[in-house]
């Protein structure tokens, strides 16, 4: 496995700056998630690392060696895509063995059998080795695709939304499995997604990309609890962080505040709070969620209720200042004391 270092990377397609001024270090054995909306530059970053694109500016190093000019094959990165891209006419065994039989490797048949078996066991598909790829379920196909990357023992895994075409339950299962696998093999993984749940549950560190610019890099706790900008705060969390009118915080918001934000789990549902006059729109025990509205402002609160509140019922919220995040007109966080507690 290997470490990766990107310094000063820029890549444009015509007038579009896909990635600019990108500096990022990924440690050997680290699971790094690049999170961002579509068009943020996530996939371009992966393709630059793989050597499928050349940067206009900047250098890429692997284990300290400059690989900016090297061919993709010599970089030894394994790609896993959202679409399974298996060979439909081959069995699971042959799909898994394929990379080992390539002219570059030409492993011995005994070695191939041993490694395919090992990977199949890791992914719980050892019983399906003789099936054709087309006879598998979506989850099994994606397991095989991941297996085909694993069997090569590459230096780096590059994964581009590998779970996003699966249904919710499978995604949940594979999320846990993929992370367990990465830990046990000590692989370096750079994982691209727009799903914040995948980011917080899987990553050692999350890098948030918006418009080709890396906004913030940190552990899930750091990025969620201490966002430096409003876009970062809005990228993580479901339901999204609440944006409240500054007028509600007169005398409480620091100078220069243009936006006040508070996470749904930090909103208090109080019998005697400061903000009365809300009307319940939706209350879900399953999602532990209460949505209420006042003067056209919708507030989402994460609350554990024994009984649901009826739609239309009045509600009263508390927005403790120490749990609020304050942003200036440019979307930068204004430092306030006591926020560390929100981490």
């Amino acid at each position: 496995m290997a470490s990766i270092e990107l310094s000063g990377i820029g890549r444009s397609f015509g007038a579009v700056k896909a990635v600019s001024g990108l500096n990022l270090q990924v440690a050997d054995g680290e699971f790094l998630v690049l999170l961002g909306p579509s068009g943020a530059g996530k996939t371009t970053t992966l393709r630059l690392i793989a050597g499928l694109e050349r940067p206009d500016t900047g250098r890429i190093r692997m284990d300290g060696h400059d690989i900016t000019e090297s061919l993709p094959a010599s970089r030894d990165c394994a790609f896993v895509f959202q679409q399974y891209s298996l060979y439909p006419h081959l069995t699971v065994f042959d799909n898994l063995a394929f990379p080992l039989r390539s002219p570059l490797r030409r492993s011995a048949p005994g070695e191939i059998r041993r490694r395919v078996q090992e990977v199949a066991e890791m992914l719980h598909i050892e019983g399906k080795l003789m099936r054709r790829a087309t006879e598998l379920s979506g989850g099994e196909m994606q397991r095989v695709a991941i297996g085909r990357a694993l069997v090569r023992r590459p230096r780096v895994f590059l994964m581009d939304e590998p779970l996003s075409s699966l249904d919710a339950q499978l995604r949940e299962e594979l999320r846990v499995e993929l992370r367990r696998l990465q830990r046990s093999t000590g692989s370096t993984v750079i994982y691209v997604t727009h799903d914040h749940v995948e980011a917080t549950t899987m990553a050692d560190r999350i890098g948030i990309l918006e418009h080709g610019v890396l906004q913030q890099v940190g552990t899930p706790l750091e990025v969620y609890g201490d966002p430096h900008t409003l876009p970062v705060a809005q990228r993580l969390g479901s339901p999204a962080i609440n944006l409240l009118p500054v007028q509600w915080f007169e005398g409480r918001a620091p100078a220069g505040t243009a936006q006040v934000a508070i996470r749904p789990e930090d909103v208090l549902l109080s019998a005697e709070g400061e903000a009365a006059g809300f009307q319940v729109i939706e209350c879900s025990l399953v999602k532990h969620q209460l949505v209420a509205e006042r003067h056209g402002v919708e507030v989402h609160a994460r609350v554990m209720l024994d009984e649901p509140l009826a739609p239309g019922a009045p509600a009263r919220f508390g927005f403790p200042t120490e749990r609020c995040l304050f942003f200036d007109a440019a979307g930068r966080r204004i430092a306030t004391p006591g926020l560390a507690a929100g981490l």
Binding site: H196, P220, I281, E282, S284, L285, V286, R302, E307, P308
Partner: protein, 370 residues
């Protein structure tokens, strides 16, 4: 506006029973969700309400009138299949007028209704816009508008949000609920998605394999599931089930979990073998020595909270842990349950066992109805 009454409704397709002797009253003005896995009979029930299928036996009354064998056009019901479909070549106004023109209403009446619907949905300023340029949310509002402009007695919706992505689906849930609060038109909504059901419904009907397993308000279904299937089907992470090693007797106020006594609501119906059920949010970490000891096996961070998987002497279970805490794999912790929210099931029949809390809940519901 109308009450819908279903009496011993039965539907067989050759030797397959799609809906089995269902009896149900859907109160006027309520938002009712038929919830269950695929093949449970929810869509067949809806299609019989719409008149797209006729039952094998039983009857359907809409606002007191028997409509069992009326054709769809003869029932004053609007069926909404897919909220997203709009006519791209028509503008917003054209899309809203379309269902009314089909009915041959006079121009002035069409004009009045379109204005009214646009006002309700806050899309008046978009009436002359083209559909192509609209944001996703506005498109969906127009689609909703097209369904309500006919002013039917009831809406029937078959997984209308099924094809939307998660984020958008949640927005539309809120939009639908707001609309219903304004119009109060009886709505029957079919879905397999428990989140949608719990967010939208006044009343949920849980079905499986043609049977109605439970019908009630979301709180009753979540807190007092009638059987283990309903308990498993609703709530993520799912309710924890812990098999008990000894029988439970009426009057018991505690059960033994691997030798430790755990308080439960007073048992009113016993069982030779039972299963304790507790939802992950009702499992909390307590000071060492105050509860069952457990070892954290696995944690997942969701920002707002952690999901922790733990093993105890009585089995493994999951707990939701507040974000202010930092659970880690290998931690030795102690856990306790929110006793009022612990339920017991008969292990043989998988049915909920009556207890002091289930009885109190039943009584509260009865009083609420008077």
């Amino acid at each position: 506006m109308a009450e819908i009454r279903i009496d011993k409704l039965h539907k067989r397709f050759s030797d397959f029973v799609a809906v089995r002797d269902s009896t149900l009253t859907l109160a006027d003005g309520k938002f009712v969700v038929l919830l269950g896995p695929s093949g449970c009979g929810k869509t067949t029930t809806l299609r019989m309400l719409a008149g797209l299928e006729f039952p094998t036996s039983g009857s359907i009354a809409l606002g007191g009138q028997d409509v069992t064998y009326l054709r769809p056009r003869e029932r004053d019901i609007a069926m909404v299949f897919q909220l997203f479909a709009l006519y791209p070549h028509l503008g917003v106004r054209g899309n809203l007028e379309f269902p009314l023109r089909n009915e041959g209403l006079p121009r002035a009446e069409i004009e009045r209704r379109v204005r009214e619907v646009a006002a309700i949905l806050r899309i008046e300023h978009l009436l002359d816009a083209r559909v192509g340029g609209l944001s996703g949310g506005d498109r969906q509002r127009v689609a909703l508008g097209r369904a309500i402009v006919r002013e039917p007695q009831a809406f029937l919706m078959d997984e209308p949000l099924g094809t939307l992505d998660t984020e958008f689906r949640e927005l539309m849930c809120i939009e639908l609920r707001k609309l219903h609060d304004r119009l109060k038109t009886t709505t029957v909504f079919v879905t397999h998605d428990q989140n949608e059901a719990m967010a939208l419904a006044d009343h949920i009907v849980v079905m499986n394999q043609g049977d109605i397993l439970q019908a009630g308000d979301p709180g009753s279904i979540y807190n007092f599931p009638s059987c283990m299937f309903v308990a498993r089907f609703i709530g993520r992470p799912a309710m924890n089930f812990i098999p008990l090693s000894a029988a439970v007797q009426p009057g018991d106020e505690a059960v033994s979990l691997a030798g430790t006594a755990v308080a439960v609501p007073r048992v009113e119906a016993g069982a030779a073998s039972a299963v304790l059920g507790v939802r992950p949010e009702h499992v909390r970490l307590v000071a060492p020595g105050e509860g069952q000891s457990a070892v954290v096996q696995h944690v997942e961070y969701f920002g707002s909270h952690w999901v922790t998987e733990m093993t105890t002497a009585a089995g493994s279970l999951k707990a939701l842990v507040d974000k202010s805490q930092r659970p880690a794999s290998g931690d030795r912790v102690a856990i306790a349950f929110n006793t009022a929210r612990v339920v017991l099931f008969d292990a043989a029949t998988e049915q909920l066992l009556a207890s002091a809390t289930t009885r109190q809940h039943q009584e509260a519901l009865r009083h609420g109805q008077h």
